[in-house]
């Protein structure tokens, strides 16, 4: 019996067990959150600004420690992990500002392999391979600095950087949030095919419900630090929960300001 439970747990790449997070000033950002992410699936954390999505994400790679409950990553509590080792097993993509401005594109992509002590030529080969994979020609882009790239190009570099050391888990914090709508659609589509090819466990934070539907295996809708709904995109459409319906409304009418149907 116990053995079976262990097996079930092992299936969960990430497991939130009644996790709370409270700021030192007493404000509670997460209330007893329970959430499982299976290996290979993409869980999208959806919600308005300030609902606790990013906090949830940072609890996974231990940029934050829970104030209550525990977060288990690959069968071990995050507080038992050496934070450095944990973070190197987890790719992390944030908005374009997260690239190191003083590193070239190639060096940005090679950060984690270099931290892991790979030798120079191997880092270089890997960086170029990844640039290719995210659709950037290494010959043209490897030696550039982030400031010499467009927003979309920077975001591709961000994804390549997170994948460099081939981590089993990928965290993405509104990675495409700052892009214009057209570039955004393109990059989302590319990301979707990449996702299928790689089969990584992903936690993806967004407030864009269209993006959530496109990329999610399952969606967790957060409101005020609680999960309002957790399910497949289909469950989402069927829900009568007002917060869910508010988001679904955005999906059905991509341009709400144009007036009611």
């Amino acid at each position: 019996m116990l053995f079976v439970v262990k097996m079930a747990e092992a299936q969960q790449a990430i497991d939130f067990r009644s996790v709370s997070f409270r700021l030192p000033n007493g404000k509670t950002l997460l209330h007893a959150l329970d959430l499982q992410v299976s290996a290979g699936e993409t869980l999208v954390l959806l919600g308005r600004s300030g609902c606790g999505k990013t906090t949830t994400l940072k609890l996974i790679n231990r940029l934050l420690d829970p104030t209550g409950g525990e977060v288990v990553v690959e069968g071990r509590r995050t507080t038992d992990w050496d934070p450095i080792r944990l973070r190197r097993r987890i790719g992390y993509v944030i908005q374009e500002i997260g690239l190191f401005p003083h590193f070239t594109v190639e060096d940005n992509v090679g950060v984690v392999p270099r931290l892991e002590g790979w030798e120079g030529e191997r880092v270089r080969t890997r960086a170029r391979e990844l640039l290719e994979m995210v659709g950037l020609d290494p010959e043209r882009f490897a030696a550039r600095y982030p400031r010499e790239l467009s927003g979309g190009q920077r975001q591709r570099v961000g994804v390549a950087r997170a994948l460099a050391a081939d981590p089993p888990i990928l965290l993405l914090d509104e990675p495409f949030g700052a892009l214009d709508p057209i570039t955004r659609r393109e990059i989302q589509a590319e990301f979707r095919s990449l996702q299928k090819r790689l089969g990584k466990t992903m936690v993806f934070v967004t407030h864009d419900v269209g993006e959530a539907f496109l990329l999610a295996s399952r969606i967790a809708l957060l409101k005020d630090g609680k999960v309002v709904l957790l399910g497949k995109p289909g469950d989402f459409l069927a829900s009568r929960e007002p917060e869910v319906q508010a988001f679904v409304a955005c999906l059905e009418n991509p341009n709400p300001s144009a007036g009611a149907a």
Binding site: L63, I84, R87, Y92, I94, I97, G98, F100, H102
Partner: protein, 531 residues
Amino acid sequence: MNLWEFLLHNRAEVSTLTLEHLFLVGISTGIAILIGVPLGILLTRWPSASKPILGFANIMQTVPSLALFGFLIPLNIYLFQIRLVGGIGARTAVVALVLYALLPIVRNTFTGISGVDPAIREAGKGMGMTGRQLLFQVEIPLALGVIIAGVRVATVISVGTATIAAAIDAGGLGRYIFRGLRMNDNTLILAGAVPAAVMALAADFLLGWVERVFGRGVGGWLRSWRTWITLGAIVAALAVWLALAISPAKTGERIAVGSKDFTEQIILGEIVAQAIESKTGLEVQRRFDLGGSLAHEALLAGEIDLYVEYTGTALTAILKLPPLSDPKEVYRRVKDEYAARFGLEWTEPVGFNNTFAILVRGDDARRLKLKTVTDAARYAPKWRAGFGQDFMSRPDGYEGFARAYGLKFAELREMDLSLTYRALVDKQVDLIAGNSTDGLIARHDLFQLEDDRRYFPPYDAVPVVRQEALKRRPEIRAALKALGGLISVEEMRQLNFEVDGGRRAAKDVVEEFLQNKGFDLGSAQGVKGGM
């Protein structure tokens, strides 16, 4: 002689002084970087300490350099036999310059690192960088432009401040500036000031360029912490090597002669030095040009073995005793007190009394028929007077003088002693207090008013020697005895004029003088002590 001719003519000395200057600035900025950058980084990790530490650095910047020197000279801080702080010379100058350079470096490091975008720092952390990797690969490289801007400010400040190092025998371009002020010689002042300004501009330009280059981001090799540690180690090794170079090995064979920072003192220092060299064959180290009361401090600290002091000055300014008018009585008092309090011995007076000379322009004296200070007192309410800082503050100076003659001037201006002559000649002031032996008196047609109420105590020039040095080298006593009564007021004035007015080197003037007095200087040739 115009500036260009002067620089060409003295290019060897100019380049020596420039190198000394560069050395002072380079080593002090280097040490300030070694201390300031890690300190600034530490403050970002421990922000509650940033206020007091930045406040301290702020205060250090406001302490006047002469006051700082006075505080540093008596200190004795050693690390493994190497004296780190204290004494006169380059070491103390470097310590003072480091203290001045710290603020901009610490502050900019702190600001630069605190200013790194939190998102970038978090990205680095999220990538799995350790604290050290984050610091050396992200924070320092991104803050580098700001840090270098701080180094740039510190360097430019140091180039300016290092001119004051000449006041404690640390050399540099300040020597020309001080000498020029003393001799009322614009060319000489510019010969110090112009190269210093050029150096400041060059440093500013160069570091500005470095700042722009590094502000944009740094190449791969600069991202490794090993590079930074190596760079730090190189700077540290250089600093240690230079520190060893500037802390001269103490040899018992060497006698150090000091002097204050005006022409007569340098001539007297040279006379004493050459006399000792010729009579004893000892090697003499010349540590001239010590500003303020630093000569006395240096003597107490054992940095020099003797210098020539004036009885009245010692009585009132150093011993803080009330003025006396009998020369013999004054000499006896200071001799007894110095022996009892400081372990210092007053030897034979050299012969002249360098009292304060109350001076007016020659044409004023003739026009108004002035002979004495009392004669001048009735014009005082219409006159502006200019006095040196020393005269204004000493107990036998302005206050008692004004009381003794009932003087009240229309305006009182306090300035550097050497500037008062210039101000008098240029009619910026109408009366000054100079020195009776001053060569400039005759040169500028100035008239010395008689001290008819005998206010000023006698100022007989006498070598003051550390008793310990006399015990170590008893032959010094004989050499100094030979100087007893040797120089009259007229002779001293002439010597001063040769140097100030005739623009001759003190060394040559003294050689000539001593030879005329029957000294055999043959053995002294070639033994020219360090700066």
